[in-house]
């Protein structure tokens, strides 16, 4: 028996729930040295910007306990080069590609969405809201429900109806549910969480920040409890909205934790740096865990930890009727 691992981002079906996390899978070519990109639920690109970006100076990384700080600064070749050299390669290999976009203004996000509109091979658009809003003194969009909603609404408007728009949220807020709700009200078809909270490390030998940029984004297992909490809270408040959960997933157990909290798909980021085979491995482990628990459909487990205390896990029978 193999479990039915299909999942849906809005109406788009993915063969399995394991994605790469934005910015962690390169262009796809690097991972393809280790395993097929079309075996992924979807490949999520690093956040694409309008113009080429050189990113931040080095050092760009620092290791922290069970975590990684990075300040890459969205280095990339810009959307034109992406469409010319990267997306076609992914499409040829049959990968479903979620294109992450990043910008400094609503206009820039909108322009990116327009540029992607109608391009074949774009399975979904993920809006990286953790970019500084240059028109609001660099305040990150994701920290402000209305700014986030504005970006989402304009990207949604510029994107063909059959391409889902995923809003990617940050945990660095007082109320992640409020931002999630604003994004859904703004037209997000799905939500992704969590982007990296802002952290910092100081080198006690040089007595200076370990990263050239000072602060960086914290990822890896250290942040998993924050990710599980965000997914849990948002799924509780918006049970109908598909969630791509991520943050510190290194094993099938970690992925299952996010699924039980309410994620219908799970992205793997930092773990890829440690294990380039992490995606197929996590998928295999997740499938084994589901089977060991008597589930033959992923969909039946999404959000299952929310059932009232003492309630039995739903039986096969009522699961037949349930849908995502």
């Amino acid at each position: 028996m193999t479990a039915d691992l299909r999942t849906y981002l809005a109406h788009v079906e993915l063969p399995n729930p394991i994605l790469t996390a934005s910015g962690c899978g390169g262009t796809g070519r690097e991972l393809a040295q280790f395993s097929d990109v079309h075996r992924l639920g979807a490949f999520v690109t690093r956040s694409i910007t309008m113009a080429p970006r050189a990113g931040r100076p080095t050092p760009r990384m620092a290791e922290t306990p069970s975590g990684l700080l990075n300040a890459v600064g969205l280095q990339g070749p810009g959307v034109e080069a992406f469409l010319e050299r990267e997306l076609p390669w992914l499409a040829e290999r049959g990968a479903r590609t979620v294109v992450s976009i990043g910008g400094g203004t609503v206009t820039e996000y909108t322009a990116l969405a327009r540029r992607l509109a109608g391009v074949s091979g774009v399975t979904a658009v993920e809006v990286n809201l953790s970019c500084p809003n240059v028109e609001d003194r660099g305040r990150v969009f994701a920290r402000d429900g209305s700014a986030a909603a504005e970006v989402v609404a304009s990207v949604r408007a510029a994107t063909p109806y059959d391409v889902p728009v995923i809003a990617k949220l940050s945990p660095d807020v007082a109320d992640v549910v409020a931002v999630a709700r604003a994004c859904v009200d703004g037209g997000a078809d799905a939500l992704a969480m969590i982007n990296t909270p802002v952290g910092m490390s100081i080198d006690v030998d040089s007595m200076r920040p370990a990263l050239a940029a000072g602060t960086g984004g914290l990822s890896g297992p250290a942040v998993r409890p924050l990710a599980v909490r965000c997914v849990w809270q948002v799924h509780a408040a918006l049970p109908g909205v598909p969630i791509v959960g991520m943050g510190g997933v290194t094993t099938g157990r970690d992925a299952l934790e996010l699924v039980l909290a309410g994620a219908c798909a799970v992205a793997v980021g930092t773990a890829l740096f440690h294990d380039p085979y992490a995606c197929p491995r996590v998928l295999r482990e997740l499938e084994e865990l589901l089977q060991a628990r008597g589930f033959d459909r992923l969909a039946d487990v999404v959000g299952l930890a929310h059932r009232p205390a003492g309630a039995q896990p739903r039986t096969r029978t009522d699961l037949e009727e349930s849908s995502l």
Binding site: G26, A51, P52, R60, M61, V72, G78, Y277
Partner: protein, 291 residues
């Protein structure tokens, strides 16, 4: 995967058994059974290793040059390292029969000259570890090989004996004068190049050393290949943390990955003065040129 992705150097992940451990002055050397990696190895390649064991709090792999490969047990690789922080301390504690998780071979190896010529190989500190497999390959092509090895002190000069056996000449430097000439590799390099009438220089070591070696080579008008070290989170080209400013064939400076586009570069292409910055004229620099 399509054929074209299966390039010769394509890396693999291997859980290898530690065959031998030994101390070499200030360094530790580990030989690990890793057939898939040994097979594909070319001089200049590196591997990354997982450190800390199961349930470790250390997420990132550590990168090490492959010092040597041997055909024993289907293929072994040898790493040479100094203890620097918690990861290398853990490696230094490994015992024979422990296992080590490696990914490799990684990076672009040293390009070799088509025709026999004279090569100066410069190694500063553990950088010297990369040079012996290279020296072998060069000699197999009929090249003459001269070594310049340096370090702050005698115990940190790696491979002097082997260099003396292999090299036409071997020049050693230490900053404290405890071995060879007092000074740095760049102090003696002009003399070595001139004496050997060298055609090409290969260098491994800290950025500062590579900068100096590149400057000296430029003065002599001979090509130099340098293997750089930058902090790496992945080693396989996906994370973009290991970038250095490098001038491309088109004259444009790009922030390129030391792990996947390097670690070996033509010295004059690396903007050593700008390492740790985004040069204002780099592609995509803030306010800089956009292609």
């Amino acid at each position: 995967m399509s054929r074209e992705d299966l390039v010769a150097g394509s890396p693999v992940q291997v859980t290898g058994t530690v065959l031998t451990t030994r101390r070499v002055d200030a360094y530790h050397a580990l030989t690990v059974v890793a057939p898939g990696i040994a097979d594909r190895f070319r001089p200049g390649h590196f591997v990354t290793v997982a450190v800390g064991g199961r349930n470790t709090s250390m997420l990132t792999r550590r990168a090490f040059t492959v010092h040597d490969v041997k055909p024993d047990y289907g293929g072994t690789v040898e790493l040479v390292f100094g203890v620097r922080g918690a990861g290398t301390a853990w490696l230094a504690d490994l015992r024979v029969r422990d296992t080590l998780d490696l990914v490799g071979p990684l990076g672009r190896p040293f390009p070799l000259p088509r025709d026999p010529c004279t090569c100066v190989l410069v190694g500063d500190e553990h950088g010297a570890a990369a040079l012996f497999a290279l020296g072998d390959a060069l000699q197999q092509r009929g090249c003459r090989v001269d070594f310049v090895l340096g370090a702050p002190s005698a115990d940190r000069v790696f491979g002097a004996l082997r260099a003396r056996r292999m090299g036409e000449t071997t020049t050693l430097t230490t900053e404290d004068g405890s071995l060879g000439m007092r000074g740095r590799v760049t102090d003696v390099l002009p003399g070595v190049i001139a004496d050997a009438r060298a055609d090409v220089v290969y260098a491994c070591g800290p950025m500062e050393t590579l900068r100096g070696v590149t400057a000296v080579s430029a003065e002599f008008g001979i090509p130099v290949q340098v293997a750089v070290e930058e902090r790496m989170a992945c080693g396989i080209g996906v994370c973009m943390t290991c970038v250095v400013p490098v001038i491309g064939d088109d004259g444009v400076t790009r922030m390129v990955r030391a792990c996947a586009d390097g670690p070996v570069f033509r010295g004059e292409r690396v903007r050593f003065d700008d390492v740790g910055t985004i040069p204002f004229d780099a592609l995509g620099a803030p306010g800089g040129r956009h292609a």
